[in-house]
Amino acid sequence: MPELTADLVLKKIKIGEKVERADLRGLVLTRAVLDGASFRRCDLDGANLEGARLSKALFKNASLREAFLAGADLREANLESADLEGANLLGAKLAGANLNRANLEGANLQGADLSGARLTHAQLASATLGGARLIRAELAHADLSETDLSTAKLDEADLTSTDLSGANLEEASLARAQLRDAVLRGATLLRADLSGADLRRANLSGAKLEGALFTGARVRGLVGTGAPVIGIRAEWVDDSEEASRAVRVTGGQIADLLAGLTASAPSHKRYFGQGDVLRNAHLEFNTGAAVEIESLFEHCTIALGEGTELVIGRGGVLSGCQVQGAGRITIHGKFVEREGPGIVGATQLVVSSEGSLVGAVEQAQDLTRFGFEPGCHLRVQILQAKKERSTKGGKQS
């Protein structure tokens, strides 16, 4: 039995009272007007809220497992960290809702409108999103493995680093979507629209691409399907480092590139996999190479040629190392120096939200472009280029 009756809940909300931490399991509030109501930390498992008006309502940390929310109006509602496992949200209006870190595993979101919704780090494994609208939705780092996203509209959505393994994206629209570092292993992308999508470093191994549209997609560093690709549609794709459209690939080379059989980008790629340990080594990488480290490097020196891209993956650790040269460095893992400066002369240094950097960075002569994402960990001393420093010192004295 719920702690409060439906009438009592409606009365409380009408007079502006909050309904928080209450046991409301199985409560029936179909088509109720509950806009802006607060159900923070409530237990609403199995509740029936079909067609209810819940725009801007607060469900933060609430439990709504197996709740019936079909057709509910949840626009701009706050469902952060809510548990919606197995909930029925068929045709629900969730535009602009906050679903960051929510659990939607196995939920039914068919035909739901999630345009502009925030779903970062959300758990959507095995959810049904067929025909859903996710235009400009923020889904970075979300788990979308084995989800049904067939015919879904995901144009301009942020799907950076999402797990889409085994997902069904047949006839989905992903125009200009951000899919950098996304895992699409074994995904079905038949007749999907990926025009202008950013697929840099995405993993497409085993994905089905027949009939998909790739014109203008950014493909640098992507991991191909591993099998010949047939029947794709693309006038050109962008294989430049910076997605500047400077390196256009056309014709039959596109299919080879998507299959991972081409000699362009991948031929310059150096990969150090998980489990490898390198100690006291000196490594040199030529201009234009792309280096990815998922291993443990100890007391190594790494020389980067101009424009070389060095990515320290999530599993990568560089301990007591020094990286020199005019390369571009991205840290998703850990970089910890023993003696500084650990990084010398990089033209670009990015530390992602999962990255850690402990050490000194001597900037390039023309300064280093920095990018730090919220959530990164830094204990960094930034230094000017040596020449710059000595000139300054001279002037001061």
């Binding site: 910076e242 150096r270 080594a281 301990s319 400066p341 402990v358 023309d366 472009r369 990018g371 960990h377």
Partner: protein, 164 residues
């Protein structure tokens, strides 16, 4: 300095062309379009492109498009503009957006120090030599030139804000 009544509540504004020297403590957000030299304590600090803050600052949130010099303690920092030499920024969260255009800088950093997040010490500890790397298959590296064991970088450790 004009206490402002904006649509989103009060804020203290140091207008362009105004120079303020001394300690500034406020219970409402501070916006600097001019120049502030001294200590600032406030729940939030916003420095516009024309603004500069030189001194010791302790705020909850800080957003800067202008010039920063001194010691800054904040929970959340969003940076653009310039960070001068001998500056220390301590924050729980720092965001510096990468400039979309090569050659352009979102932030020009002088010789400064950044202490962001709380786990940097733990990170240092976890990256010890005996750390077990995750198991898994790997692809042998191409074009790698192994050499004699390195004696390690001979560059001096960073000891002060000048790197001297």
């Amino acid at each position: 300095m004009i206490p402002m009544q904006g649509t989103q509540g009060r804020k203290t504004l140091v207008e362009e062309g105004t120079s303020f020297k001394g300690s500034l403590s406020s219970t409402c957000p501070v916006e600097v379009k001019g120049r502030v030299e001294g200590d600032v304590t406030a729940p939030a600090l916003s420095v516009s492109a024309s603004g500069s803050v030189h001194g010791k600052v302790k705020v909850g949130e800080m957003q800067s498009h202008g010039e920063l010099a001194g010691e800054f303690d904040a929970d959340v920092v969003q940076l653009q503009g310039t960070v001068k030499d001998r500056t220390i920024i301590r924050a729980k969260s720092l965001e510096v957006k990468l400039s979309p255009t090569e050659g352009k800088m979102q932030v020009v950093f002088g010789e400064c120090q950044l202490e962001v997040g709380s786990e940097t010490r733990e990170v240092a500890a976890s990256a010890r030599p005996n750390e077990k790397a995750p198991k898994g298959p790997s692809v042998p590296p191409e074009g790698v030139k192994p050499s004699e064991p390195s004696k390690g970088p001979s560059v001096r450790p960073p000891t002060d804000a000048n790197g001297a």
